[in-house]
């Protein structure tokens, strides 16, 4: 610090040295964490940290907007999509592109060095702090309003175009207009019978999961007469997740009873 002031530790300084490491950790969490959800949550941490910094830099309006709009809405949308896309498979951390990791890190360090040399020591005089600007129109929000609806009114209007495009884009790529009418119950039934007739698919509903003494969990498959587990009785996601229970010991019982019946029958025949 070039001016000899009392080592007065202001509130801003405290918030900075507390929040800054947090935001950096959050950012690193985003990049390094294996599971997508953890990454998304660590970004939330960063964003909240930033909001705190905004507040300390006399930008209360921005801080609020950051939390409500950015973290609240935008980040949440991310999480919805994450959920939809399925967070089950953790991303493998093995790097497939040859030399990508090394080069990327070197590049990052290069840019960081470039920025440090540029930014470090570049400001000579005191920050002019926004307090005066805030008071001019009676508060931060009013000041921003004056700018937003004065000097930058055109940008404001322009951003309207942006939002329309975003909305239309979302509709375009996500909304699948239905060409045929929704299939009512009669059509569905007809389809099932047709499928049974042509491809021999089982027309009835899928078999329920197995109900055993030990467990009647959804993940337990029902047994077929010949003792094997019927595939259709286990839901796809669970199968994918491998959360099904092994029915082998259960089949033993039927197995032994069958064996017994067989034994008896053999005796009758010979």
């Amino acid at each position: 610090m070039n001016t000899l002031l009392l080592p007065l530790v202001t509130g801003a300084e405290v918030t900075f040295w507390v929040v800054a490491p947090l935001t950096i950790l959050g950012a690193l969490g985003l990049v390094l964490s294996k599971r997508a959800v953890y990454a998304a949550l660590s970004v939330a941490v960063t964003m909240v940290g930033l909001a705190a910094l905004y507040a300390s830099l006399d930008a209360p309006f921005l801080a609020m907007v950051q939390i409500i709009v950015y973290t609240g809405a935008v980040l949440m949308m991310f999480l919805f999509v994450l959920m939809m896309v399925g967070i089950i498979t953790p991303d493998s951390t093995v790097e497939s592109l040859k030399g990508q990791r090394v080069m990327a890190i070197l590049g990052g360090i290069g840019i960081l060095a470039f920025l440090f040399f540029a930014i470090g020591g570049s400001l000579y005089n005191e920050p002019a702090t926004v307090t005066a600007a805030n008071e001019q129109f009676g508060g931060n929000v009013e000041g921003l309003a004056n700018l937003m609806f004065g000097r930058y009114v055109f940008v404001f209007e322009l951003s309207a175009a942006l939002l329309i495009v975003a909305a239309v884009g979302a509709m375009l790529l996500a909304h699948n207009e239905r060409v045929r009418e929704r299939k009512g119950q009669p059509e569905l039934a007809a389809d099932r019978m047709y499928a049974y007739k042509t491809k021999g698919e089982h027309p009835g509903s899928l078999p329920n999961s197995g109900v055993y003494a030990g467990s009647n969990a959804i993940g337990v498959g029902a047994l077929l007469p010949d003792g094997t587990v019927s595939e259709k009785s286990i839901s796809q996601t669970l199968a994918l997740r491998g959360a099904t229970i092994d029915p082998a010991p259960l089949t033993q019982v039927t197995g032994s009873t069958f064996a017994a019946i067989e034994a008896v029958r053999d005796e009758d025949e010979d």
């Binding site: 800054a20 991310f78 592109l97 990791r101 939002l163």
Partner: protein, 100 residues
């Protein structure tokens, strides 16, 4: 008073981490999140700039950047979802039919 350059340096660090994320992470969503992180870093720089220069322009810009980021997220997610529905995977590396 604390030297304002620290804010700029913090912004720079976040920016570079974001850039690294885009390069290293294979999941499209995470890469896109990193881009959002870069934009947030710029926002921080804007607010710090506004603090340094004493004009509110920086903060207005930050606000507009948020608007832009929001729109971008909508479009980005739409594209990523459409890719997901087609390929059942959001990995950026799977999308390499267009090459040479």
């Amino acid at each position: 008073m604390m030297n304002p350059e620290n804010y700029l340096i913090l912004a720079a660090i976040l920016f570079v981490i974001g850039a690294l994320g885009v390069m290293l992470r294979r999941n499209a969503l995470i890469a896109f999140l990193c881009v959002e992180l870069m934009l947030n870093a710029c926002n921080l720089a804007f607010v710090a700039g506004s603090h340094i220069t004493g004009t509110l322009d920086g903060q207005t810009t930050a606000f507009f950047v948020m608007v832009v980021a929001a729109a971008e997220v909508v479009v980005g997610l739409a594209i990523i979802v459409s890719i997901y529905k087609t390929r059942r995977s959001t990995s950026v590396d799977d999308a390499n039919l267009l090459k040479l």
